[in-house]
Amino acid sequence: MKLFEFFITKIFLRKVIFSIAMILLFFMANYTIFTATRLILSTFQGYQEVKSMNQEGTYIANLNPDSNIDMDAIAENGTQKVYDYLNNNFKYAFYTDGFIASLPNNDDMEISFSYMNEEYYKLNQFELSQGTDLNFDYQFNKDKEIPVLVGKGLSKTYPMGSTIKIELPVLEQSMTLKVQGVLKQNAYHSNFHALNSKNYYNFSVFLPVNQEFITHANIDLQLNGLMDIIILQTTKEKVTNLSEIMQDNLGLKFNFFSQKENFDYFNEYYLHSLKIMSIITLILVVIIICHSVWNALVSIRLMLKDFTINLLVGLSYSKLRKILYSYFGILFSINLIVIFFITAYSRYGSWLRKDAAFVTYGLFGLIGMDWFALLVVFLFDIIFGMIIVEIMLRKIKKIPISLGVLQ
């Protein structure tokens, strides 16, 4: 320890510019790997989510980009006709979210309401930490309670069995909701059009939707629900007819993509961009490693006299190896701690901004994905550290530590 302290204070930190350069290079490498790992992991999670819906005979609606939405031109009976057609001819999964409502809670978050039908609920298999699954065969009646699930954050204000009286904007009437279950913490939903981005349900209410509910809902809910509607166990021909019905009644052109088309889309855009991103990350990391090795070798050259004198008076290569590993261990640890704090602050920022869709729970504010990325960085640092130290030692041994160095 005394020897290590001596080397840190009297040798390494005397060439402070190299230490700072090394920390900055390591930080760039670590942060690049950390960000790339999280992005890949998040995209993979989104892909897994989409994969569960992307079955043979399943078609996901997608508004044609050329369509212009003119809400005034869409009549409520138009959307209802589409739903009537859907109810008579298809099995479909309905989901829409982002309906913010003012619901008092301990954390002063704006609460997001997510509406889904039974088919969607079955497809996603949400995990609960308490209570029972949603039931969808309730009778729609303003005097009756609608069973709902709430996120972990909201369950502090509205625990299991409690009731919520609220005016639901989509129904334009006051309803009573009963908390039937609590979602597992950090339950999420990926954006199907940007798989790496996701919304968290910690401050959400899951509302079960049945045909009667949709009939009573306003056009906002009905139309939003159609935007990503998933048609199950059907054929291309039948969804083509549906698309025509939607065009006739809504004036909007919807595309329905098959399993193969969705996979092709994924391969074309996501897999390709993931590959590009991985290659760029790899190139960046290799460049940073090369710079770090160069920086280490230059610093060795500058410190060679100091190393030589220490070797002359009793330092052994094994001790020098331990010193170098400890030194780089500290540099890497500083970087890991900095990344940890940046991530924790970023997660905490969602709480400060009351950004309910991004608020998460976790140890020190970090969620599983963050810890996994930190682990990847840690493993990378071990390999990176070994490369740097062994190259430095090789260089020190290659330039004969001899009296000649001092002359």
């Binding site: 005394k2 020897l3 001596f6 009297k10 040798i11 005397r14 006299k305 100091d306 004198i309 220490n310 070797l311 002359l312 008076v313 009793g314 330092l315 052994s316 290569y317 094994s318 001790k319 004969p400 530590i401 001899s402 009296l403 000649g404 001092l406 002359q407």
Partner: protein, 222 residues
Amino acid sequence: MTNIIDLSIREKVYKKKKTQLSILNNFKLEVKAGEKIAIVGESGVGKSSLLNIIGLLDTDYSGEYTLFGSLTDNLHASELAQWRNQKVGFVLQESALIDSLTIEENIKLPLFYAGTEKNFFEPEYFENVINAIEIKSILKKKPLECSGGEKSRAVFARGIIMKPQIILSDEPTASLDVENRERIINLLFKMNEEFKTTIITVTHDLEVANRHDKVVHLERSK
């Protein structure tokens, strides 16, 4: 009297970029305790390389080396480091000081590696050394604040602080004026007289070389 150094080198290959040079071919050296040996020869014949080998810094050669009755091949790297610390002292040119340390820290550096528990530090001996070589006034200074002569004496002090059995000196007077040269040589020989320390000096200065018990001429390998 038995030899404390029994060195037999078949070949030492010195690699530099793409070229390699064979030096010290079939070289033998036997040194008894308390002897003063000078090594002379033209540049590039391997004088410093020989000192590296004797001083246990270089083990990459073919041959056999017995030091204090032990075959050095059988010594672990940490034992070699310990011997460099406690049995061999290096007296080098003035530049062989760590600039970030004070002169006192530089001199006491071998004590740091010896470990305090072994109590190698003898305050009285330390006082005698710094008084003898007149560096008391510069102990708290950094090397860059000292003159060439002062730095040479500091390097000398570090070389003898552990009372080594062998002192290896590599051109210790090369950049010194006559007065300082005499002072360093006299100090070296005084160590030899007082403690029977073996002195091995690499030098270009034939006058200095001739004051040793034995002069070894190194010649270029054919």
